[in-house]
Amino acid sequence: MNIILNGNNKSLQKPSSILDLLKSLELMPETVVVELNTTIIQPNSYDATQFAEGDRVEIIRFVGGG
């Protein structure tokens, strides 16, 4: 399956949730903002939200320090 992640094509080997994708990218779920097809997804839905072919995903990642 192919999705568009931050403007770039990305192929997923198997059916994946947002949480699966974040794990594969080694991102901590609580430190990112995820937008799926222009909708901001709440963190408590990361596990239940499965990608579909052609989904457009934006992940904005934050690192600590202020």
Binding site: E30, V33, I40, I60, F62, V63, G64, G65, G66
Partner: protein
Amino acid sequence: MLSVNEQTFTFHPGMTIGDVAFINKPTADLFILNGFPVSADTKVQDGDTCTLIQKGVRPSSAEINTLLAARHTPGIQIKIKHATIAILGLGGLGSAVAGAMAKIGIGKMLLSDYDVIEPSNLNRQHYFIDQIGMLKTDALKDNILRMNPSLSLELVKERLTESMLPGLFSDVDVLIECFDDPAMKAATLRSVLTEMKNVAYIGSSGIAGFGNNNKILTRMERPGIYIVGDETSEARPGMGLMAPRVGIAAHHQANQALRIILGADKSRQ
């Protein structure tokens, strides 16, 4: 007509700023003509703005506002004076952003932090040794009112959670995220995107260490949504937060807020 310390005063051809001072403020020993210091024998022109100051005597709020308007030009200053910003987190970023915005005469600031000043903060945060143990909100209020006493300040002293943000900050023009914790950084952007549709946002990510100056960028994520930092330099053991690079990022944030306030960059659509 002349404007002399915010009062109108009749202009006569040939008069100097020293003549104006002799009548209006004989104790003045610093003469500002249209925003720039001049000598007493400088001739004034009809329509000029004169600010007369006695060194060592604290100027009034009105005099400070006049000086800022002269320095920044009045059309710009009125926009700054009418803007409200929120600064979330008053550490190395937030304390520096607050100082910059105080100095330019921002109208109103909401300052938010639940924490007290610890000795380890002082390598980068704009507090003083004798303020250790104070709430950062209280200490920063004291410090920036010494820079500009005409600011309007609101202090938010409770520990924030994502669900509290819209109720507290939906009415500001620009929200500046200066948290340390990456989870609160993400929560803030999520809240702004979903609940605060009219609030411009300037977040931060990747400001630790002493890496290349020019890797600190202001990136437009989308109109009205900006992120400052190199987006990779995480604060961790071996790469701490230090005043110089944190200061670069803080002043990116402050200038971006100013650009939004003045309409130079896009706010939210």
